[in-house]
Amino acid sequence: MDRDAVKGKSLARYKQERDWFSLLYQATKLLPGEEGRLQEKLLTILLDSKEKVVDCVENEKPFVAGYFCNAPELFHAMDLPWYMLMETPFLAASAPYLLSDIEGAESMGIGTDLCTAIRLPIYYIENGLMPVPTAVLGLLYPCDGAPMLHQVIEHNKAWKNVPIYCCDPPYTSDERAVEYFADELRRMADFLQQHTGKTLDMEKLVKVCEESNRSYALWQEYNELRRSVPCPHGWALGGPQAFAISQCFVAGDPRCTSWFQQLLRCGELRIREGKGASEKEGWKERIRLFWFDIMPYGWIFELMPWLEDEWGAVIVMDMFANFPYTLIDTSSEKTIFHDLAKRNLLDAPMIRQARGTAQNFSSDIRRIVKDYRIDCVIWPGHMGHKDGAATVGIMRETCRELAVPFLHIGLDLFDRRYASPPEVRDKVSQYFSGMGLG
């Protein structure tokens, strides 16, 4: 497929997603209360980022395809619109075609045991369903799939001449590793300047970083609220949205800070009113869960509401929600790059846990269980998270030491055929019953 054909096809798919969110946005306007306004604001930001990409593709303006956790503050400061290479399967807009896309990937001969979050972007690239950007920014962790996805990009004929730069996070987490990664980010910034015609204005970068500091500080403050019993919000509001809004669609943007302020107000209000995650009559928080991974976005509505309704089980914390992010010292270029490296290498979800040794799997469980009065830890065991799968013994042992039950489910975040929602619900029910929870 040549570049022009890809342009038309990918744009049609991209607009389809945008329009779906546009419809959703209209619907959220009808939602009552502060939570409704939060969703509305989130969708405004998401839609705006999609509109920008559409505009760039249609009018041949520079934009990038990025990965997660590669310091989006840098390309935001360069006024470069971006989309995240693997965002589609995580978006509810993909629901109508998710299964047929997965089947499409299977028919290409890519193994069904390859992480679906990697398989799908490969399918989109190979089938012209992803807009070809001016440049690609990749990241070579947290898993083996990441470098393979980026190599498929380089291999694809329509993408062949698109310049690509991939940051290479080291396996270690000491100061030497942070310095190395800071240099990788510097090289990434040089690459962007060279290939997009944009310049990195340090004053602008300082402003963006300061804004992102404000956002992250508010996020942390909000996370303190989630320690409350009952937890003011459940699975539907908090970590994943916070991650999306601070890393995936914008970074260091005043709208993002404003969203966090509203989130915080919202949480405080609920705590003052003694409200928990659900407003349903007679509902009570009975189990406080630590969901130690991504939520199953392909069929999220068939599990998460059920957890709250059936078992009073609230996801108080999840992998994407909490590790206090390093605040950037903006006093010099050196400190900015250093702290961006630290934030993206040591704090950002998945890169923090899955990139290096298993130490953080264990220490995060210890911290979260203690800080958030967790009753049980669930490792969903997404089929793509092979390093985590090889860490289950360590996670189980950690939970045993903490005297907190641990459940390893084994599912696919997107493909309901791998472990069906009823099967997962049944497994969780048996576990809760067996452990005397709820």
């Binding site: 190599q151 080291p170 040794t357 065991g381 092979k386 090889a390 084994g410």
Partner: protein
């Protein structure tokens, strides 16, 4: 393994490849000398050799189950680390004085984490190998090697001077040269050694004292000189893949008439096709450059796919390969995508390609035979 090679050297190689412990290794241990295990061919054996230690490439050979390691790993993990770690939990690696792991892949890298929690090996380290092949990555890996050198010196009480490292590089390069000679013999119309036999020789090179291996390999080469193997094969094949240390797997392919004449695998040509640069003034940097960039890479090295496919094409041409088999251990995210790209590239070249998934421990032999037979028929049909 079935073989027509009647040499004593080959018998020793086959014996070493068939298990974990072998007589040469046992003698070494009985002399009170140290052995350091390592996972992945990107760990520089030269540093262990320079420290007077025997580098032992970790395998799960002989394992029949994963009953102990299943408490640490999951069913979606590659069977190689599960079997190898099971062997360790059963005590079969108790002879190790140390172990060096590396972030080679998502499955194998977790052996380090589980090992330090479950076993009492006195010296266990993990190295950080970059995923790119540029100068900053060579710098990084140079530092990693310097750190490892310091750790080895401190723990084993040896001095790892540049001179000793240079000598180790020279020894390893001589071995690489001999192994390459062995491979080159397979260019012949009637290669004197099969693919399965070659793999046994290569595996043995990671499991016995290097000097002794060099002597035995020299002996074997002399014996193979002038020997003519069978012409009774249906096609000349090449194997692509990662962790393949079981000659029996190749034996099954060869029993169907597909003679393996070369490979790009991590117990095969990628170990030795190119030497470490002996002219580089800093031997540590020479090693870093070799392991990060100069040797033929595996898919974990980002941005190197064009060089990998070029290497495959070059090998296929030089060895007059008629078909290529990409073997991959189940659940490997690296090789599944690599094989996908390789398949597309080879299709353009008109070279038939068969992608096979397998478990680490040989299984599904009937299915394997059927697929190989079908592939060979496809090749024969092309010849018309």
């Amino acid at each position: 393994m079935e073989t027509e090679i009647r040499s004593e050297a080959f018998r020793k190689f086959a014996e070493a490849a068939a298990g974990i412990m072998n007589p040469e290794l046992r003698s070494w241990k009985e002399e009170g000398r140290g052995v350091v295990g390592f996972f992945c061919s990107t760990v520089p054996e030269e540093l262990f050799i320079a420290a007077g230690l025997l580098p032992f490439r970790m395998r799960g050979t002989g394992s029949t189950s994963t009953e102990l390691s299943d408490a640490y790993f999951s069913p979606i993990n590659c069977s190689f680390p599960r079997h190898a770690f099971n062997q360790a939990l059963r005590g079969e690696y108790d002879f190790l004085d140390g172990l060096v792991c590396i972030n080679s892949c998502d499955h194998v890298r977790r052996i380090y984490d589980n090992w330090i929690r479950a076993l009492k090996t006195p010296f266990v380290q993990v190295m950080s190998l970059p995923r790119k092949v540029g100068e900053p990555q060579i710098d990084w890996y140079t530092d990693e090697l310097k750190i490892l050198r310091g750790q080895l010196e401190e723990h084993f009480g040896v001095r790892l001077t540049d001179e000793r490292i240079r000598e180790a590089i020279q020894l390893q390069n001589r071995i690489r040269g001999l192994q390459k000679q062995l491979y080159l013999l397979r260019k012949a119309e009637r290669p004197p050694i099969t693919g399965a036999e070659t793999l046994a020789v290569m595996v043995a090179g990671t499991a016995m004292p290097k000097q002794r291996y060099q002597e035995l390999l020299t002996e074997l080469l002399a014996e193979l000189e002038g020997r003519r193997g069978s012409r009774d094969y249906r096609a000349r094949l090449m194997i692509l893949g990662g962790e393949l240390d079981d000659p029996a797997y190749l034996e099954i392919i060869e029993q169907q008439g597909g003679l393996i004449v070369t490979d790009s695998s991590c117990f095969g040509s990628r170990l030795m096709w190119r030497p470490v640069d002996e002219a580089e003034p800093d031997p540590i940097r020479a090693l870093a450059r070799y392991y990060v960039r100069d040797r033929p890479s595996c898919p974990r090295m980002y941005g190197d796919q064009p060089r990998r496919i070029a290497f495959t094409r070059e090998m296929a041409r030089e060895f007059r390969v008629e078909g290529i088999i990409g073997e991959r251990l189940l659940f490997c995210d690296q090789w599944v995508v690599e094989n996908y790209m390789t398949g597309l590239d080879l299709e353009e070249d008109g070279i038939p390609f068969l992608a096979l998934d397998r478990e680490y421990v040989l299984s599904g032999e009937g299915q394997l035979r059927t697929r190989i037979q079908a592939f060979l028929e496809q090749l024969e049909a092309r010849e018309g």
